[in-house]
Every structure is written in C-alpha cells, then in structure tokens.
C-alpha cells in the first residue's frame, strides 16, 4: 500500500495524479476463507481490520451486496460521543471514541475525526436530573463529561436560542472530546487497510443463504456462488433479520427507517454538535458547510431507505425553535437508512445458536460512533470464539433473562 501524505500528493501532482493506485482491490471470491464478514459497512470492515491487525487472521472476505459503505455507514449524521449511562455501553463507545482519535494515523487515511464537542441540551428539570446522573456515571467510567450552564451553552454555540420561550435551556451535558467524523472516509479507510492486508472485499455480492453441518457454519451461498468459511460474522445492520433467518434463528430486531437531511452549505456558524432531545432535533455543521440534521424513525417496519416526511417536519420545527436562524436556510437533500432496533435499543455482539456464526447488529440509530470499538470487540469474539469484556454484556441471551442494557432511561436518545 502506498502511503498517503502531502509529499505523495505533490509527487503525484507533477504527473497529473496518474500514479495513484487503487484504494482497495475488487477481486472475485476464492472458494473459501478462514473467516467471512457479511456486510461492508463500518462495523463489518472494522471487524475484518481488527481480525487482521489484532489476531493476524487475514484470509478473510468481506461480502457486500451493494457498494461498500453504502448502508447506514454512508448515510448517518456522524455524531461521535461516548457519554452513555450504562457501564457496558460507556465502555464500548468510549473504546470506539478513543480509537477514532488516532484512526487517521492508524489507517493512513484522513477520516476527519473532529472532536469539536457534543452537547446534549437539558430543557426540562427531568432532563437536568437525567444528565446529572449520566455525568456522575461517566465520572466513574473514566469518560470526560461535564454538566454546563446555559451561559456556557450560549458561549459554545452562539446561534442557539437558550431563552426558550417554550423550553429554555437549563444546562447541557457536554462531552468536549465528542464530535463528528467523515463517514465515508471511515469505510474507505478501513477498506483500504483491509485490502492491503490481503483481505478480499467482494462488492455487489449478496448473501442468500447460510450453510451449516452439524450445527456449525460451513459457508454462505451468494449471488457469486457458494463461498466456504470456518467462521462467519454477520454485520448487516438493518438486514440482520434476513441473515438470521438464513441461519435459522430469530432476532429481537425490527428494521425501521431513520431519516436525515442536509441544508445547503453556508459559512461556518456552529462549531459544536447539539442534540436537543426534548424537542427531538439534533444538528451539526459539516466541514463543507451544510447543516447536518437528524430526523426521527418511523414506527413501522420498512426496508425502503426512505421514511415518512412528517418526521422531517417535526425535526425542523424543533430546530427552528432551537436555532431560529436556520429558518431561511434551505433543505438540500433528505434520505433514509434502515436501522436495526433491538428490544432494548442496545446492540448485539454475540455468539448465536449456530456454531462459529457470530452476530453484530442492533446499533440502530447510533452505531457510527461505535464502529472501531465494535470491530475491535467483534474481532475478539470471532477470533477467540468467546466474547471479551467489551462484548460480554451484549449477548443475545440477555433478552431471555431480562438483563437489558437500557440507555433510554437517561432521558437521552441514541445518536
């Protein structure tokens, strides 16, 4: 793999950039692999990357039905934070956040991780108490967060209307090292690194069936034929229900559309990420200048990558109330992604009823921020066959026992 740097650009500029090599190869599948990861989203690619990097397992195929990064990884609002309430969530999201800090250097690919700070507004007394609880939990989890005053909120984000009138800002939970990243670059950077390790990323190849013998997985049927494997990782987000059905079990998952939109680009006016959960809206400004805005989820099962428009309206009226200056900006584009919502809204990183078949899903509306941590933990699970401490709580049997990992209790939503 040729290294990327300023010097490489200068060198290439002289020959009109004709010398760049492919960021990743696009090979045909081999007959079999040591491990197959289904789904070349962020989580699948990170899983493969850490299989190689942490465990030396590189005879790996990543199978993707469309184009890599084209799932939710390529369509999310890119908020990265780790100020979660429950210990197991906080652990894996903080692991992920810390890996994001050095991701550009690790991958030699600028993923533009931008730790500009994330604030979650408290606009009711109940929310204040909820965020104070999270702040106390975070203090014990080793996560730097702070409950800040309305005045500090205003200083950090001058375009915010903190004086209501309906929901004056009473404070905010502030994570200064949270932020955003360039979502596509995360997928591309991992893909390039995986490919460089000799892994095969096989795009436009849909998994149609899972084969097993004696309760142990043997391979997958795909639109490019059968591909054998010793281990299978299913990392397909919204399509997890389909994959699980192929493997013969059911998941506590519903696939619903989550929407987002961007405004037309404007000059920088907002240097933090703001989430306003009372009114249901969140917004940040991308490096290109668009306001990136997250909408709501439909309450019905949906695989169309588009949602119902009234959620967009609800989000925008909440944001006009919170940021009156956006009223005269224009919505440029809106889209949807199919998110995988579990029974407790927390993910699964788990063994399954099928031997050597592992699942990673359920990241729902908030898994972009988890990508490196999730890949790290999933690689450990696949390599060792047993979960490590990061993954342990996220097993799929917790639903039977009632041991949920419920984040909604912290007055927050997941993004």
């Amino acid at each position: 793999m040729k290294r990327y740097s300023v010097f490489a650009i200068a060198r290439e500029a002289l020959r009109y950039h004709t010398g760049w090599e492919r960021a990743w190869r696009s090979p045909e599948p081999k007959a079999s692999y040591d491990a197959i990861v289904v789904g070349a989203g962020g989580h699948g690619l990170a899983t493969a990357y850490y299989l190689g990097k942490n465990y030396g397992i590189t005879n790996v195929a990543i199978i993707e039905k469309g184009w890599l990064g084209g799932g939710n990884t390529g369509r999310n609002t890119t908020i990265i934070r780790s100020n979660y309430l429950q210990d197991s969530s906080a652990a894996i999201y903080e692991k992920a956040r810390s890996l994001y800090e050095t991701m550009s250097q690790d991958l030699n690919y600028n993923v533009m991780f931008s730790p500009r700070g994330v604030m979650m507004l408290a606009q009711t007394h109940h929310e204040v108490r909820g965020y104070l609880r999270t702040a106390h939990a975070n203090a014990l989890q080793g996560i730097v967060t702070e409950f800040i005053t309305p005045q500090r909120v205003k200083e950090l984000c001058p375009i915010l209307n903190i004086d209501g009138p309906r929901y004056p800002v009473l404070g905010a939970l502030w994570q200064p090292r949270g932020g955003t990243g360039r979502h596509d670059a995360v997928a591309w950077g991992y893909a390039r690194a995986c490919s460089a390790m000799g892994m095969d990323i096989i795009q436009n190849c849909e998994v149609k069936g899972v084969r097993s013998e004696n309760g142990v997985v043997t391979g997958v049927d795909t639109t490019k034929g059968f591909i054998g494997t010793k281990k299978l990782g299913m990392v397909v987000a919204g399509h997890s229900g389909q994959l699980a059905e192929m493997a013969g079990f059911r998941l506590p998952i519903e696939a619903v559309a989550l929407q987002a939109l961007v405004s037309e680009p404007i000059k920088p006016c907002m240097d933090v990420v703001v989430m306003a959960n009372t009114v249901h809206g969140y917004m940040s400004q991308s490096d290109k200048g668009e306001m990136v805005i997250g909408g709501g989820t439909d309450g019905f099962n949906n695989y169309t990558q588009r949602g119902s428009f009234h959620h967009i309206e609800e989000t925008l009226r909440a944001l006009v109330e919170t940021f009156p200056m956006i009223s005269r900006l224009k919505m440029l584009r809106q889209w949807g992604g199919i998110v995988d919502m579990t029974g407790d809204r927390s993910p699964l990183i788990s063994k399954t009823p099928l031997g050597n078949c592992f699942i990673n899903c359920g990241w729902g509306t908030g898994g972009f921020k988890a990508i490196p941590g999730s890949g790290w933990a999933m690689a450990e699970l696949m390599a060792k066959g047993e979960p490590g401490p990061l993954a342990e709580a996220f097993n799929m049997w917790r639903f039977k026992e009632g041991q949920f990992i419920d984040e909604s209790v912290a007055a927050g939503v997941a993004h």
């Binding site: 084209g70 600028n110 500009r116 680009p265 490096d287 290109k288 006009v320 209790v409």
Partner: protein, 972 residues
Amino acid sequence: MSTRLAKGGRLIDRTAAVEFTFNGKRMKGFAGDSLAAGLLANDQMLVGRSFKYHRPRGIVASGPEEPNALVNLGREARLEPNQRTTTTELFDGLEATSQNHWPSLEFDVGVINNYAARFMPAGFYYKTFIHPRPFWKHVFEPIIRRAAGLGKAPTQGDADRYEHAYAFCDVLVVGAGVAGLLAAKAAADTGARVILLEQAPVLGGRAPVDDAQVQGKPVEAWLSAMEADLAARDNVTVRLRTCAAGVYDHGYVLADERVADHTPGDGRPKHRLWRIRTAKVITATGAIERPLSFAGNDIPGVMLAGAVRDFAVNFAVSPGDRTVVVTNNDSAYQTALVLKAAGLEVPAILDARDVVTGALPEAARKAGIRVLTGHAIASVKGGKRVTGVSVCLQAGEGAVTEEIACEAVAMSGGWSPVVHLYSHCGGKLNWDNGISAFVPDPMRPPLNHDGSAMVECVGAANGDLDLSGTAPAIPPVWVMPQGAPIKLRLKMWLDYQNDVKVSDVQLAAREGYMSVEHTKRYTTLGMATDQGKLSNINGLAILADALGSEIPQVGTTTFRPPYTPVTIGALAGESRGDIFQPLRRTPMHEAHERAGAYFEPVGLWRRPYTFPRAGETHEQAVHREVVNTRTNVGLLDASTLGKIVVKGPDAGRFLDMLYTGVMSTLPVGKCRYGLMCNEQGFLSDDGVVARIDEDTWLCHTTSSGADRIHGWMEDWLQCEWWDWQVFTANVTEQYAQVAVVGPNARKLLETLGGMDVSKETLPFMQWADGTLGGFPCRVYRISFSGELSYEIAVPASHGAAFWAACTQAGKAFGAMPYGTEGLHVLRAEKGFIMIGDETDGTVIPQDLGLDWAISKKKADYLGKRGQERSYLASPDRWKLVGFETLDGSVVPDGAYIIADGTNANGQRNTQGRVTSTYYSPTLKRGIAMGLLKHGPTRMGDVVEFNTVQGGTVKARVRDTMFYDKDGEKQNV
C-alpha cells in the same frame, strides 16, 4: 458585454422599471425580470465564486438547474443565503450580494486555491492533513471550513411567516409546459379533479421560446386558449410559483409555493407548503440541457444554449454581442437564429457531429451563419469573462485550428429528461441511446398503496424532446475534443459549483471508487445545491468510459427530494412562537400566571414549579411553600393528573390484570393506591383508584401518563381481551382538581361549606360527592404529602372560580399555592415514590419495596411473567432505601454509590444510586432516596456517593420515611 436588447422580451413590462442592488451597486430592471436577467442586463457577468477553487462564476442556466449564480438575498431577519438568481423574481428594492469570496467578488484571496488546484484533486484531503495529529482539529479543519460553505449564515430569526396546506386530487400534473397542459386538460376531460403545478410564474414551459406552433396554432394563441380553457373548469386548479419538491409514498406530493418571495413584507406567508394526496402523479417536468465538457467551460459567459435563448426571448437580454454556439444537437441552432434575428453576431456554430442536415441547421446556414461540423472547442479564453474560443476538431486531441473572439459561448450537450420526481419513490430508468439520456421505464414505476403505478411521465420528461413526437437523435459527446489530453481535462468542469472536473472523475475511477456512488462521494460530483442537474449525466458518462463500462451499467446516483431546495421555515410551517407546540393549560393557568408562577414543562402541560415572591429565589420559594403546607395549608393545582373511567361487567377483572394489586375487591366509596407495569415487568405508572359504583372505577394516573395509560388500556381491550365487557373514557380534562393540603385543610373546606368532610364521614382513602362553596365536586381523601389532604375535582369550567374560592377561603388559615417542586419535596419527606424519579423504565415495584401493592394471589397481571425472569427476580438487585448524609448536606442529583474496585473494562464498580435528593425544609437537612444493592438489609451502613468533582459524600442507610412515620398527620 451583456446587455438589454432594445426590443422584445415576452415576460418583461418595460413600462414598470424596477431598481435593485448587487453588492451595493444600483441596477435597473423591469417587472417580469428574473434577478439573473436583471444582472445580465446590467452587464454583471461575474456573480459568484466556486466552492473549492474560488473560480469566477457567471450565470450558466435560466432555471432551477443553475449551479453558479447564487446570492445572499435581503438582509438581517430577511437574509437568505444561496438564493438562485435564475428563479428569483426581480422586485423593487431587492438587495443581493455575491457569496464565497474575501475580500470582494472581483479580488478573492481564496482564488489561490485555484492556482494550487493541481495539488487539490478529488479527495486530496483524505490523503493529507494526517500528521501531526492535533493539526487537523486546530489548523487544517478550521481553514477548510472557512474556505468552504457558500452564503453567509443568517444571524437572526426569520421575519416572515409560513404555512402549510393540504390538497387532494385524482390527478396531479407537475409542470405546465405543453405536455403538462395537455395532460391536465385530458385528465380534466374525464371529470377527474386535477391540480396543475408550475414552478415558474407563468404557464407554457419551453414552447413559447422554442416552438412557433403548437397543434397547428401559434404558440402564444394556443397558450392563452389553453389557459382560458383550464381556468373555466371547476375541476382544475392551477398553481403557479409552486414547485413539486418531492414525491412520497402513497401519492403524497410535497410542493413549495413561493407566495410572497417577490413581494416581501406584504404580510402574506413567504411560502406555503402544500401536502397533496393524489391518486396519480403525472410529471411533465420537461428536460434540462446538458453542458459540454471542454476546457474553460466554466468561465463566465459560457452558458447553456437554451438559457441564452430564454434570456433573449423572455427578457430581451443578451450575454454578449458575439456568441459562439457549440453543440452536438439541433436545438442549439435555435439560439443562433434567435440571436441573429435580434441583430447580434454569431461568428460560428461548432457542431461536434460530422454530418448535420436538419431543418434548423439548414435555416442557420440560410441565415448566413458559419457552421463548422466535426468541430469542437479546444479551450475558452478569458478569466472573469469570455474573450474568445480556440477551435479544434472533435475527433482529435485539441490541436487548435483557429481562434474566434467572442463574448459568450452558447453550448448544448443534449437534453436530460427531468426524471427526479419519477425516481423519488423508486421508479426505475432506462438508457435511451437515441437521445443519449435516461428516460423513465414505464414497466418499473414507483408503486402506489394499491400496487398500481403512482407516477407517469409525459412530454420531454418522458424523453419526447420534440412536440412533433419524433425525438431528434442526440449523439453522445462527453468530452470535447474526443481525445483531449489531461491538461485539457483538468480544465473541463462537470460540477461548476463544487469544482469537479473530468480529471477528478477519472481519478476516482483509477483509485477504485468505481461505484457511481463512490465517485459521487469521493469527488462531490452532484452534491452541490443544484444536486447535479447539469453535471450528473456527464459525470457518469465519464465514469463509464473510465471503467470501460456502459452508462446503464454504471447507473445513476439516487434521486432524492427535494427537487429544488426548500426553505426550512416553510417546512416548519405554522409551528413557531406561540403555536410551536400545543401548550396544555389547566383551567387555573391564567391565575397561576397572575400569581407570578415559574412554570416547568410536564409533557405538553406547563405546571407551576413554584410561586416565587419578590426577592425570593426559586429555592427559597419552594422551602416556604413546603413549610407552609406542613404548618398551615397549601393549594396545589392537580388538574393534570390523569382520570380514566373504567366501567363494565368485566371492569374489575380487567383492572386486576392492569394493576399489580387487586382492584375488583375495592369497596364502593373507597380509594386504593395501585401500580401498573408493562409486560416486561417494569413499573410504568401509579395512582389512586376509586370505586365509583358496582361496575365503575375511576383510575388516577400521573400527569404524563394519562393518554399513555388510556391508550394502554384500549390496546389490551381491543387487541387481547376484546370479548371482555369494559368501556373506558379519559375524562382528565373534564375536571379541574385542587389539592388542599395541610393541617388547616379541613377548616378551609368547612369555610367553603356544603358537605361534611369530617374524619368520621370522610375518612382517609375514601371519596364523596357533594358541593363545596356551591361548586359541584367530588372530594377524595388521599394524600401525597403525609398531611391532612383533600383532592377536590370540580368541572373544568368552574376550575378557575373554584381555585379563587379556595384561595379566598384559605386566607384566614395561611393558605398558599405550592408548585411541583414543593410537591416533590413533600412526598420525598414521606418516602413516597415518584414515577420518573424512582423509576426509569428499568425498575420493578419489588425494587422499590412496594411488594405490599403486588398481589401474590393473582395468577396473572401485566408484568408478572416478566418479573419472574432470572435477572429481575435476582436477590442482588438494587433496592430502595433512604439516606441521610453524615454532614447534613444534600446528595448531588444523579450520584452513584461507589463500590470497591473496577470492572473488567476498568470502570469503577458501583452498588447503587440516588433517585431523589432534596433539602428538607421540614427537617432542615438533606434527605435522599436511592437504590442500593441489598439495601433493605443494610440499615445503618455508611455508603459513599460520588460527585462529579471527584470527591464523595458519605451517607447513612435508613428507611425512606423521613417524616411522620406513623402517619398521624394525614389521619386526623
């Protein structure tokens, strides 16, 4: 220079002059002009700067496809960035400023990016700015951000108002060109209800500019006849200035009407967002002309041929005295003819095709215009405006055959049908080799709710580029000249706004970003504010070529709403200010406002948090209210509490399923506290249930629980136990409810008079109907404070008067209103739990020591099975206890109780957390409740709560009843 022609201009009114400013410069135009036409008429060729390289940008198109000519419009509370000049109607006093430059449009420092362009190809930022690590956040990213973005961010709220409107029809026709008008008429003839939308302020589409005749009639005559015909029908509604922004599932179409953009401040809504439901959508949205990719095709003065024609015919504006036409199809010849007819020079038509024989080319030749077939532009000369072109053979590598001086270039690379709306909901496209464009595939349309085709396309939008019905062949010409070397390709713009060039797309392909979606995201092709209306097809043709593939195999990127950007204010609609959200008011709301209440939101209600007096902090006010309630009497507006009547032969049985306790055995006239859980077993609501008569119960819920619990009841009754005879009614709002609380409560009621509220007649946990002070009421003897307490329900229409009467009657006894925070403190002093504080969706009643409210005998209740699961039944769960800090201080809200050591992930172990913590003005010390592992067995232990500063607060474990343990105060 670009200028106003002496004659013509079908859309302008030369008798109505209009003044406007651009960058402070005063300019003149006419009513009917677009802002773009006004700018061109005043020789303003340079109107902006591109996104990445800050290159000079001029007007290139005449409609919503315009990528360049965007301005900041208006100022202050009416400032609108990125306003498209080609679709902005000129009005007197319009103020526009150009964007994305510093210090000025003419001299822009950012243009150094242009000179460094070679070092900034597509995706360069992914390859650099990696080291040293902190530099990205602190140096590189801020620079990039400042250079990016287009218009200025407004700093104020919006001075204008917006609204929504619903409309319904059988057939919605989008686009009022010839095709749309005919479709609307045809649909109307069948008796269907028709709505016809046109984004422009006038009907007609391209025909008045492009066609002499329609259906054998002169075009203008045909149009006015058609307009009159449609206007006369009452089943047709025509909406001008209304852009269909998006087509959504089940025939839902969003359309944005620009009601008062051209008359700002006249009091009308600026925009109206239409939400249209239609059985069928017909899109007659026309076609958009494509640019040609030649070097320097982005220099101001290079325009689409159709746009040049539009400006000349519609507004009598010409971009230059000498215009070179370059094309691969016949339509551009019309431009040459129009210009020639207007007395302007057309030094040459460069046609990439080798053989050109159509009627239009013949007419051009006849008019004496030089037609060079097989020719192309090698490069355009000029910086901030065109000064000439170098000509070459299309077939070669760009060897210049001659140079032609000119002020403008009119280009046409063919036409792309506007298939956006067809595609929004999944309609699929076919590649049409004849016209080198994607056209709708009628076999794979977007589907309606019933599975029928939801959208149909007609006219140019369907690929029928000619009214005659015989589509002229348009051969593909994707680069000019065909064998252009890299130096030329570096200067061939695809996406003018985002500065994406032919070389960038080729680089993306070379680097393996082979999916069209990868190329889009890597190069940002088509991601600008025009969403690639001009660039997408050209870009993917280049990509297909670079991949050695075919265009249909490469495919398009996804078309997404909106078709043109929609103002966010319009999407928010009426929901702002006072009607941002419904504000629920109790009948006493105004009285509380008059009393100076500080409110807090509780769901959509607003409840008084406290009633501060002059000079008091909120905290002091709360303490005063608590003490007064304990010593005299307090009044609480409890109207928001949910009240649900449950009635029927099976009502008792039903409530026994709903509550953890037994309600069927509650005697008539009595009250009982109950808990409701969800099927998981988690506590979801609580409240007092009153038995009204043999088959009627009244269930009180929490304020935010009323609608939720009513819905929950109906859910079970309708979907699970539909054969049970139970009716429910949510009567929450029928009653105003006042809690009269404190030692003087009875005296207050006796002063009102009318019924016996003595201990004997109305003991604790009973209710009675009667009148008080002449108000019909129902009085419940229940207490959430531990005091002697009555909750009195009166009809809501008497609520305000009853509150006033209580206040009046209470004067002698020291009555004061108290708010929700006082309520919280009072209940915490008594160890009563609060839904939302002690519970958070993960807590079961058993955790809270509420086992007494759970029937052991019942075979089933909602949540029972859930609570039997191993984790919920575990003896290790955290359970509710009270805490007293050793130093009397208040435990911080949200604190955790630390335990020894750390877990496998290095996090500090915990063993519990606080759920309610207050300063008790009664006990004059901090009191707290919380959940603690094995809590009830640990009375007297000292535990440590963490603080966010890093220290701890020590507290002793005790029971939760801090005040009046024996309940002597409430049972008097």
